[in-house]
């Protein structure tokens, strides 16, 4: 596994979804309430870039006319067919048995001892002391 820097923490606005390539892989990176999520940026259903989608939640119902918005902004809705994926697990919500994206577990760590990804290495070299978003990729 190789640790890649994706971005500076403070470079993300809350609830931002962004495509970032790391280790040759396109990732869909999202930040919600200070927590970061990354998915391979390719919908397993039809191949759309998930980073073009919107954050959403789940809607539960006790019956017709009853709506309850749950897990707000913990899901990502694919821009092509509207399938929803759990940011934390990659689990598809539209058809839980059929589809799961590959989810990675980004963490926020102190910089300095990282193998930096292209973004940090090429454009923000002075941020070695700042907080970076990193991801481990094979």
């Amino acid at each position: 596994m190789t640790r890649h820097v994706l971005a500076r923490v403070d470079d993300f606005t809350d609830r931002e979804v962004r495509r970032i390539e790391a280790g040759g892989k396109p990732l869909c990176v999202a930040q919600v309430d200070g927590r970061f999520y990354a998915l391979i940026d390719r919908c397993p259903h039809g191949g759309a870039p998930l980073s073009g989608g919107r954050l959403t939640g789940t809607v539960e119902s006790d019956g017709p006319g009853h709506y309850r918005l749950c897990r707000r902004d913990e899901m990502l809705k694919c821009p092509w067919h509207g399938w929803e994926f759990d940011l934390a697990t990659g689990q598809s919500w539209s058809d839980p048995k059929a589809t799961r994206t590959r989810a990675f577990a980004p963490s926020t760590v102190e910089g300095g001892d990282l193998v930096k990804g292209p973004y940090v290495a090429e454009t923000v070299p002075v941020e070695v002391d700042g907080n970076y978003v990193v991801v481990d990729l094979p």
């Binding site: 019956g63 006319g65 509207g82």
Partner: protein
């Protein structure tokens, strides 16, 4: 002829004339009907004459109701008298005449042949009166379904009609939708056609709308024991409609969150369709539809007496797996009609079928 238990889901009684309904009306409505010369009105519901070629099946030639039941070995026939009084605008006169039709069916037909089961014929346009009629007749176990027409003011899933479904579910009555219109609603969702040919062909399309409406509006979620029967809907359209329902749902669940699993799973065991008219040309196409739908559990044997929907002597088209025939003939109907399902005499015959190779 077969010894197999056979339940006919779509068997038509000859339409009674308005004068025949007079004994079943109270004094006021009898006076109104007579004084307004309504017995001279045909009040026919069909868009073609009774003696039109496609309205008469040569297989039934010369057969009266008991004779037709004998001819096709029908053990139980869920019968209906589709009557044009459902199209009346006056809600009170309509309710009185619908009650008269139902009472006439009970006395003239259900009393006369124990193989017949009845329909509580109602108008969807007055749910309050419809519920009252269901309550009035539900004590008679021979009535096994509530009967509505396919084309009315709103699609059947609309909340306006829910009191009808609540009453039907509570009494173990299926809700049957029969092809037909009130003639004040276009038979097509895109407007009025010009020709009878068009009207006849597009009847099946109404059922696609109705199925999606029942599903999307949440009727199956709200009434978990309700059973819906489509009569003369055809079923060749099922594969594409079921697929579109499932496919579209995947991306739009948030709008209709009461659809908590793929729609084709929600409608399974809840929606049943009569066999005739079969809208496939031959056994290969029948088999293809069955393969696409993945089941024959929703099909109910029907003769559509006395209408002409099939050639020859057997309403059962070729193309179904042999193993599916007992269920199409009767087993599925016992699930579609709760009151038939709990009839011990019928259940005993199904048990017998299940142990017979």
């Amino acid at each position: 002829m077969t010894d197999m238990l056979t339940i006919d889901a779509d068997f038509h009684l000859p339409q009674a004339g308005v004068s025949d309904l007079l004994p079943y009306l109270d004094d006021y409505w009898r006076m109104q009907v007579v004084d307004r010369e309504l017995p001279s009105m045909p009040f026919r519901l069909s868009s073609y004459p009774a003696n039109a070629p496609h309205a008469r099946n040569t297989a039934f030639e010369g057969l009266d109701v008991p004779g037709a039941l004998d001819r096709f070995g029908v053990s139980v026939a869920v019968c209906s008298m589709l009557h044009g009084v459902a199209g009346l605008h006056n809600p009170d006169m309509r309710a009185a005449l619908l009650s008269a039709v139902n009472d006439l069916v009970a006395r003239d037909w259900l009393d006369a042949d124990t193989r017949l089961r009845g329909s509580i014929y109602i108008s969807g346009e007055d749910p309050e009166a419809a519920v009252a009629e269901i309550e009035r007749l539900a004590g008679d176990d021979r009535f096994v379904q509530v009967l509505m027409l396919a084309m009315q003011d709103l699609p059947h899933g609309a909340r306006r009609y829910w009191p009808i479904y609540e009453a039907a579910q509570r009494h173990g009555l299926a809700v049957a939708i029969h092809a037909g219109a009130l003639y004040r609603n276009p038979p097509s969702v895109s407007g009025w056609p010009s020709y009878q040919y068009e009207d006849y062909v597009i009847q099946s399309q109404a059922f696609e709308n109705i199925l999606v409406s029942f599903l999307g509006e949440g009727v199956f979620a709200r009434f978990p024991d309700l059973k819906v029967v489509f009569l003369e809907s055809g079923f060749g359209w099922l594969p594409t409609t079921l697929w579109r329902m499932d496919k579209t749902w995947r991306g739009t669940r948030q709008e209709v969150p009461w659809l908590d699993r793929p729609p084709s799973q929600i409608t399974a065991g809840r929606v049943f369709l009569s066999l005739q008219p079969v809208d496939m040309p031959g056994p290969d196409e029948v088999a293809q539809v069955v393969k696409h739908v993945g089941s024959t559990d929703m099909l109910l044997f029907s003769t559509d007496y006395p209408h002409r929907q099939f050639d020859g002597d057997d309403p059962m088209p070729a193309g179904f797996p042999d193993a599916a025939l007992p269920a199409i003939r009767a087993g599925n109907a016992l699930r579609a009609y709760p009151r038939l399902g709990r009839d011990p005499a019928l259940a005993a015959r199904v048990d017998f079928l299940e142990v017979t190779p």
